[in-house]
C-alpha cells in the first residue's frame, strides 16, 4: 500500500520530530511511504476564517500532490479533517487518516515498541476526537473509546493520568487563538491548570497546533511540563 505522508506547515517548521516519528512508524509497519514535495499549507486557516472560496487553487495543488497514493496519512487530525472535508470533499480517491487511526484501523497494530517512560496527560484535540472520530466524547450516549489512548496503553513505560474535563476544547481554534485572544488564553490556561493538577510530566496529543498553544502558555509561565506529539512517544528509542 502506498502512503502519502502529509506534513502540515507548522509541523514542517516547528515540529519536524513529529513528522519524522510518523514516517518511522509507517516505515516500521512496512508501508511504502512517499513524501510529495511541494507541500505548503492545506488551506484550513483560510477556510475556517470564512475564506474557503480562496482555497480552490491550493486544494487542487494538494489533490495533485497526492494523486496516486492509496492513503494520505499525517500527524495532525485537524489538518487531515480539512483534507477530508474541504480538499477531497469526501470524494473517491485516497483515504485520509490521522496517524493513530491509520495504525489502529488500517494496520490493526496491537503492539508498540517504545522505550518511553513517563507520566502523560492525553490531550485529544476536538477535530480529532469529534471531527475524525478518533474517540468518543462525553456528549453522546455511546461507549467510550479512544484510538490515541489505545495506542499509548500498548506502551509499558507510559503512565496515563486522567484530567478533569478531558474532552473540553483547549482554546486554540486556529485564527480564533488571535481573533478571540482573551478567551483563547483563558481556555488554554484552564486546560494547563487541570493538566498540572493531574500530575503529568508530558502533554501528549494528536495535534501539535493545540499543543503549540498550550506549550506557548507553559513556556511563558515557566512550567516544565513538556508537550509531545503522540508519534514521538509511540516510536521512542532511548
Amino acid at each position: 500500500m502506498r502512503v502519502g505522508l502529509f506534513i502540515p506547515c507548522y509541523v514542517n517548521l516547528y515540529y519536524p520530530s513529529a513528522g519524522i516519528a510518523t514516517l518511522r512508524l509507517l516505515e516500521k509497519a512496512g508501508c511504502e511511504v512517499v513524501f510529495p514535495k511541494g507541500q505548503t499549507c492545506c488551506g484550513q486557516p483560510l477556510s475556517n476564517a470564512g475564506m474557503h472560496h480562496l482555497t480552490g487553487e491550493a486544494s487542487r495543488h494538494y489533490r495533485e500532490l497526492f494523486s496516486g497514493v492509496d492513503y494520505i496519512v499525517g500527524p495532525s487530525a485537524s489538518c487531515c479533517l480539512h483534507l477530508r472535508e474541504h480538499v477531497f470533499e469526501w470524494s473517491e480517491g485516497p483515504q485520509i487518516f490521522e496517524i493513530c487511526a491509520f495504525l489502529t484501523d488500517v494496520l490493526a497494530m496491537s503492539e508498540m515498541e517504545s522505550d518511553f517512560i513517563g507520566t502523560v496527560a492525553v490531550h485529544q484535540g476536538c477535530h480529532g476526537l469529534r471531527g475524525m472520530a478518533l474517540g468518543q466524547a462525553t456528549e453522546e450516549a455511546a461507549p467510550f473509546f479512544s484510538k490515541p489512548l489505545a495506542m499509548l496503553q500498548m506502551i509499558k513505560g507510559v503512565r496515563i493520568v486522567e484530567t478533569d474535563r478531558w474532552d473540553e476544547c483547549c482554546g486554540f481554534g486556529g485564527t480564533f487563538s488571535v481573533g478571540e485572544e482573551a478567551i483563547s488564553v483563558r481556555m488554554g490556561n484552564d486546560k494547563v491548570q487541570r493538566i498540572i493538577q493531574s500530575g503529568a510530566g508530558y502533554i501528549v496529543g494528536t495535534d501539535m497546533s493545540c499543543l503549540m498553544h498550550l506549550q506557548g502558555l507553559l513556556l511563558r509561565q515557566g512550567h516544565t511540563i513538556e508537550v509531545k506529539h503522540i508519534t514521538e512517544i509511540l516510536c521512542y528509542e532511548s
Partner: protein
C-alpha cells in the same frame, strides 16, 4: 454596529477571573447534570435521531403543517394571527391589548418576544409588562437583557440580586438567601398575576393535528399568568409546529434533560381551547425564518427547541457570558441564527467559536451547529463583511499556497519573526505573543531533513 464585538466584550468579562470561574463551573455543572440525566435514558441517541427527523420532516412541509395548525386552532376557538416580522408581531400584540384596554400584562419566558423586543414596544405605548420568570424578573428590574435562554440571570451573583431587590422590592439589605429573595419576588408577582389583564407566553410545541399548544416551565409562571388573565396571547416562531401528539414525548423526554438535567420540567401544560368567556390568541411569527428555510446550509437550525444545552457545553460561552453575544439568543445557536437576521450587527458571532463541535454532539435535535458556524463564516466573508487588510492578507496567503518555494521562504521568515516576537520587548505586538511564546526553531524543517536523509541517498 453600535455595540462592542464579542471579542472585546469577552475580554472585559474575563477581567474578573473569579467571576468567570464561577460562571464556567456553574454551567459545566449543569452540563454534568445533563449527562447524568442522559444516562438514565437507554435510547438517548435514538431519541435524538427521532427528534431530528420529525423536525426535518416538519420543516420540509412547514406550510402544510402551519395551515393544519391554523385550521385546528380556529376550530378550538383560538384567534390565529400571522406576523411577517418583529414589528408586525409587536403591533398585533399591542392591538389585541389595546382593544381590551389591557394596561397590566404578565409575560412568561418567550425568546421570540425577546427577539422582537416586545417589552419596550409595549412600554412605550403605556402598557406595563412584567416578566414573571424569576430570572427574567430579576434582569428586567436591572434593565438588562437575559444572558441565557434557560437561565436568564446566570450572569448574576446573589449579592447583586439582593441589592436589586432591596432597591425595587424593599427587601432587607444584605439578605442574600435565595429562599428569602425568591419568596419576596413571589409575593410581588402573585399580586401581578391577580391584577393582570392579559398574559403573554411563549410556546414550546404547537401540535398541528389538534391545534394544541404545549408550554413547559419549572416555576408555573406561564400557567399562573394565562389561567388568571382574561386574555392569553401565545407567541411562537413558525418553526415550533410539530405534526402530532405522538411526537410530543420524543421532544419532552429530550428537552428538560438537555436543558437542566431534570427528567421533566415541573409543569408541561397543554392548552387546546380557551375557557368560555376568555380569549386565546396565537401569533405565528416569521421574522427571518422563511428566509432561513430557503438556505439549505442553515435550515436545520430551525430544528432548535431552545433547550440551551449548546450554551452550557460551549467553552466560549461559559467564559464570555451571554451579554458578550449582543443578541437575544446567545451561545452557539445564537451565533448561527443572529447573523441571518442582521449580518452587519452580528457578523462577529460565528467567529466566537473554536469549532470544537461539542455543541453539535450535545444538541438534542442534532443540529450541526459547528458546521453551520463554518458556513456562516463563509457567507459573512462573501457578503463583504471583512476588513480590507484582512482580505488582502488572505488573498496573498492563498496565492502562496501553490508556490512552495516562496512559501517555505516566508515560513522560515515567519518562524524567525515569531521568535523575536516572543521576546519581552516585542510581545505586546501580537495577539499570540502577549500571553504565549512561540516554539523555538528546530535545527532543520521536516522537508529539509527529509531531503537530506532520503533524496540525497538516491
Amino acid at each position: 454596529m453600535n455595540h462592542k464585538s464579542h471579542a472585546s466584550s469577552a475580554a472585559e468579562f474575563l477581567e474578573d477571573s473569579a467571576r468567570v470561574s464561577w460562571h464556567d463551573d456553574t454551567l459545566w455543572w449543569i452540563r454534568a447534570k445533563r449527562d447524568k440525566a442522559v444516562d438514565t435514558v437507554p435510547d438517548w441517541e435514538a431519541l435524538r435521531e427521532a427528534a431530528s427527523e420529525i423536525k426535518r420532516h416538519t420543516l420540509s412541509r412547514l406550510d402544510t403543517y402551519l395551515m393544519q395548525l391554523e385550521t385546528q386552532a380556529i376550530q378550538n376557538g383560538i384567534h390565529v394571527h400571522w406576523a411577517a416580522n418583529a414589528e408586525e408581531h409587536n403591533r398585533i400584540v399591542y392591538n389585541i391589548l389595546s382593544q381590551h384596554h389591557a394596561a397590566n400584562v404578565v409575560k412568561s419566558k418567550s425568546m421570540l418576544t425577546e427577539e422582537c423586543h416586545l417589552n419596550p414596544y409595549l412600554e412605550e405605548r403605556g402598557i406595563q409588562v412584567t416578566d414573571t420568570d424569576l430570572g427574567e424578573y430579576i434582569v428586567q428590574l436591572r434593565h438588562e437583557p437575559p444572558s441565557h435562554i434557560v437561565l436568564p440571570a446566570i450572569h448574576l451573583k446573589k449579592k447583586q440580586v439582593s441589592d436589586t431587590f432591596h432597591t425595587h422590592l424593599n427587601t432587607d439589605p444584605g439578605n442574600l438567601s435565595p429562599d428569602y429573595l425568591t419568596a419576596a419576588a413571589r409575593d410581588v408577582l402573585r399580586k401581578k398575576f391577580y391584577e393582570a389583564d392579559a398574559a403573554i407566553t411563549g410556546i414550546n410545541f404547537a401540535v398541528a393535528e389538534n391545534g394544541m399548544l404545549v408550554i413547559c416551565t419549572n416555576e408555573g409562571n406561564a400557567d399562573m399568568g394565562m389561567h388568571l388573565a382574561r386574555i392569553h396571547i401565545a407567541c411562537m416562531g413558525i418553526e415550533k409546529v410539530i405534526p402530532t401528539v405522538e411526537d410530543l414525548p420524543v421532544f419532552l423526554r429530550l428537552l428538560a434533560r438537555s436543558a437542566t438535567g431534570q427528567a421533566s420540567t415541573a409543569y408541561t401544560s397543554h392548552i387546546r381551547k380557551p375557557v368560555p368567556g376568555k380569549e386565546l390568541h396565537l401569533v405565528l411569527v416569521d421574522n427571518g425564518r422563511t428566509a432561513m428555510l430557503a438556505q439549505p446550509h442553515f435550515r436545520d437550525a430551525l430544528k432548535c427547541i431552545r433547550c440551551g444545552a449548546c450554551f452550557n457545553t460551549c467553552p466560549v460561552y461559559r467564559r464570555s457570558g451571554g451579554h458578550s453575544y449582543h443578541t437575544s439568543v446567545a451561545g452557539p445557536i445564537g451565533s448561527v441564527l443572529s447573523p441571518g437576521q442582521n449580518m452587519a450587527a452580528h457578523g462577529d458571532l460565528p467567529f466566537a467559536s473554536t469549532l470544537c463541535g461539542s455543541c453539535s454532539q450535545v444538541c438534542p435535535v442534532k443540529i450541526d451547529l459547528h458546521g453551520q458556524l463554518w458556513h456562516r463564516r463563509q457567507e459573512i466573508n462573501q457578503a463583504g463583511y471583512v476588513n480590507g487588510m484582512k482580505k488582502l492578507t488572505a488573498q496573498g496567503f492563498a496565492w502562496l499556497l501553490t508556490r512552495p518555494r516562496l512559501f517555505r521562504l516566508l515560513l522560515n521568515f515567519g518562524g524567525k519573526a515569531g521568535r523575536l516576537l516572543s521576546k519581552r520587548p516585542f510581545r505586546r505586538l501580537s495577539a499570540w505573543t502577549r500571553h504565549r511564546d512561540l516554539p523555538s526553531m528546530p535545527q532543520a524543517r521536516f522537508d529539509s531533513w527529509y531531503n537530506k536523509q532520503y533524496e540525497q541517498q538516491k
